[in-house]
Amino acid sequence: MKQRRFVGVFTGFAFGIILALATLEGLLRLLPIQGGIHAADPNDRWPIHHMEAHADVHWSAGWNLTNPTRRRTNNLGYAAPFDYASGARIVAVMGDSYVESVMNPYESTVQAQLERLLGGAIPVYNFGIGGSSLPDYLGMATFLNREFVVERLVVVVGEGDFVEGFRPQPGHFFWSPHDSRLVELQPDAFRDPVRKALRKLALLRYARGNLRLSANALFKSRPSTRTSECGAADLLGGDRELIRGFIDALPTAYGLSPERIVVLFDSESQRRTMYDPNAARRDAVACPTRDGRVLELLASEARRAGVQVVHLAPTFRRHFTTSGERVDHSPNDWHWNAVGHRIAATAAFDKMGTKAAGGHAATQSLLRP
């Protein structure tokens, strides 16, 4: 009798779990959860990581699905509402998820706003893909030059972009351990059909995309205690050489004179401090990190080489202090919002030295002499 009861309860328990999961799956399919990253299979023409061509990209942030956005990829698998024309003369915008910007309507992105500022006479193509880092921005030059004529280059650099370059990821460039080369491409991988099928499950997309679930997150149990002491933030041997090599190689790789390249530096930690009303009282400053020091070095080396450099933090701060308007989707999501993208686009445009000329004259100055 006891055993029969146990079997009954246990069977019901399993049935209840399956029923609840099925209900959740159905419910989530009706809601604007993240669509997940539908990475394209590798191909020889474009062996770097990109999304499936002409596919829908659904985005929303956090458990409560804030800022739901729908975008589409183009023929090359980048988030843009138009196809990239082979052989076109373009302004290229490189970066990670900030440039990919699937959390904003295309018209709000730095590339769209820059194109508008330029009078629309030269297309601005973005090659932003989440997870990209400094080696990608250099390594992709070969493929961009093969397909397009890059007239100007805008690179958005954020925190982590240097150190992330040491981790080889499929379809991404990384800092080469060999002296002969600065960066190397980690060959992209074909996605396992089982994983592809699993990624279609709404429950999984919600857990991985919206909740950013990981074992670390699940098993943290204490609030992060920010101490006033900062950890060591020294450059490691070879960092300086890598950065010098990167900045020297960048113009050559794209076949551009250095002043045709604009590097926009962003700092999420400074934005976090900027919004914290107690920051002044606590005399809070963002802790220096190895990555931060390297990016400082990158900025000074870029200036030395004649590359245009913009630090966005002071402009963001000025804007927030005067208007009270945030430049990102925080606190749910720290990616720039339309305001942040507009500020970045204006800063890039100003550095291009074309503000006064405007319109067609601007376009002329963009083209190579």
């Binding site: 009954g8 309860v9 019901g12 209840g16 909740l211 098993f219 149990s221 009303p277």
Partner: protein, 498 residues
């Protein structure tokens, strides 16, 4: 280990629960009780292992004192002396850990003499386990309890569902449950109900309290540095009103639910406090076990209402002031307690007056005016509670005054850094508050509505299958809520600070 964390829900709880029933089956109830007590010590030590000797010492001391009091006729000293000494030791310990710096700072401010502060960290849950044990000592003195088993006593104090933030328990309502043999056998019905309480509590904490917290924090953090405008002040205070209710009642629901998994019922701590139509009613519904403690062991001990109206009001004031101070060593808590004391005195005075002139009041019997009067009473009570919450949450009395000025008149410009007070946020806060005012509370939903249905289901031919399915579905809900909790910054329960 926070209740919504992965390490608690997916590691600690299953191991402790399985161990409890396994030991009970294989080795007997005593071993199972010992396992539960040890697990509770581990739970406490996981927070800060340095505090473990204090908890163990406090339990040993109070058990010994309680035994002396209970053996009164044979004891070498009078039970009254032991009681006074033991309560003094408990209060001195609490004073040292919780109030020493507050007292030193206050003395410095009053006397103008610089006194160095003491380097002391507040042991988590000290206010709760101290009060629980003081109640035990007083009940022992009154002859209401007798405890011969140190293991049971240790389990009563450390029992992990209530150890950190209550409910404040009476020995008499817990020990008979630990003594019952059926407690040590898994009961499907209690488990389903326990899981339901756990899910509702988690939902309150994760979906509502943690969502309201950023709005409240933005206001109270900003108040120390800049001016705030009227809309921002109301927005932030409303957010805190929602946060503290859903946070603490969510914790209490989780505690009740976790305990039910072990077959032990804990007392309810909340009964829809924002439905209260007076402050007296509010205190019957808010943190009910603390109110009960303050009434039974402080207000009544001071003389209660047995010594005339004036003395009754004075006793009320003293009780609430000390109740405020119990929450934290800060003048803001003293003001909060004082305000509630004043509200209670006014409320009692008004009741007295109304009783005398009731027949002459227009609305008292009118079927149309009465609901209006009730709504006004609810709004006034809620406003008073919200005003008091400003002191409860603010970092200083000055910050609280700044926010109150902003709420009631002083209009400033928009303040960068204060949370956006867009219409969506207002609507969300209004819905959360309306739910607290209109909807049935956890015990009404689960004990009142779910339980009879489950019992009917259990009695049906597919009973086992049905209750099992209910359990499975609730487990999925709990796991999902834990995932959502993990996706956000870890936020402790507000009452863990007390």
């Amino acid at each position: 280990m926070l209740f919504p964390s992965g390490e608690f829900l997916f590691v600690y709880l299953p191991i402790v629960l399985a161990g409890f029933f396994l030991f009970a089956r294989l080795a007997g109830a005593q071993v199972a009780a010992a396992w539960l007590a040890l697990s509770s010590f581990f739970f406490y030590g996981f927070w800060r292992i340095e505090d473990l000797p204090l908890l163990a010492g406090s339990i040993a001391f109070n058990y010994f004192a309680g035994s002396l009091i209970q053996r009164a006729p044979e004891a070498p000293v009078s039970s009254r002396s032991v009681l006074i000494l033991a309560i003094s030791v408990n209060l001195l310990l609490l004073a040292y850990f919780k109030y020493s710096n507050f007292l030193l700072e206050s003395a410095t401010a009053l006397l103008g003499v610089g006194v160095k502060s003491v380097d002391v960290t507040l042991p988590i849950g000290i206010s709760f386990f101290t009060f629980t044990q003081i109640a035990y000592l007083v009940d022992s003195y009154a002859g209401k309890v007798r405890e011969r088993n140190p293991l049971h006593y240790a389990l009563f104090v450390t029992y992990f569902p209530h150890l950190i933030a209550g409910p404040v328990l009476h020995h008499a309502e817990m020990m008979p449950q630990f003594a019952r043999s059926e407690t040590y056998r898994p009961r499907v019905m209690l488990m389903v109900l326990g899981l339901a309480f756990l899910a509702v509590g988690l939902a309150k904490k994760v979906l509502v309290a943690d969502s309201a917290a950023p709005f409240a924090n933005a206001l109270f953090d900003a108040a120390g540095n800049q001016s705030v405008n009227t809309a921002e002040a109301w927005h932030g205070v409303l957010a805190y009103t929602i946060q503290i209710y859903y946070d603490f009642s969510g914790y209490s629901d989780m505690a009740v639910g976790l305990s039910l998994l072990f077959g032990v019922r804990l007392p309810y701590n909340f009964d829809s406090p924002y439905k209260a139509r007076s402050i007296v009613d509010f205190w019957r519904r808010w943190h009910m076990t603390l109110s009960r403690f303050l009434r039974d062991y402080l207000y009544v001990a001071l003389g209660g209402n047995r010594r005339g109206v004036a003395r009754r009001y004075l006793n009320l004031g003293i009780t609430m002031l000390l109740g405020g101070l119990w929450h934290g060593a800060s003048w803001t808590f003293v003001v909060w307690g004082g305000l509630h004391g004043a509200f209670l005195v006014i409320n009692h005075g008004w009741r007295h007056l109304r009783h005398r002139i009731a027949n002459r009041l227009l609305w008292s019997e009118s079927p149309t005016l009465r609901p209006v009067g009730d709504a006004l009473a609810l709004a006034l009570t809620l406003t008073c509670v919200m005003v008091a919450w400003v002191f409860f949450r603010a970092a200083s009395v000055e910050d609280a005054a700044k926010i109150l000025l902003a709420m009631f008149g002083s209009i400033g410009g928009a303040s960068p850094g204060v949370a956006e007070t867009g219409p969506n946020n207002w609507v969300w806060l209004a819905i959360s508050l309306a739910f607290a005012i209109i909807a049935p509370n956890s015990q009404q939903m689960i004990d009142g509505r779910l339980r009879p249905r489950l019992e009917r289901l259990a009695a049906s031919p597919a009973g086992d299958l049905g209750t099992g399915a209910a359990m499975g579905a609730t487990v999925v809900t709990i796991v999902m809520l834990a995932f959502i909790s993990a996706s956000r910054d870890v936020s402790e329960f507000i009452y863990f600070n007390f």
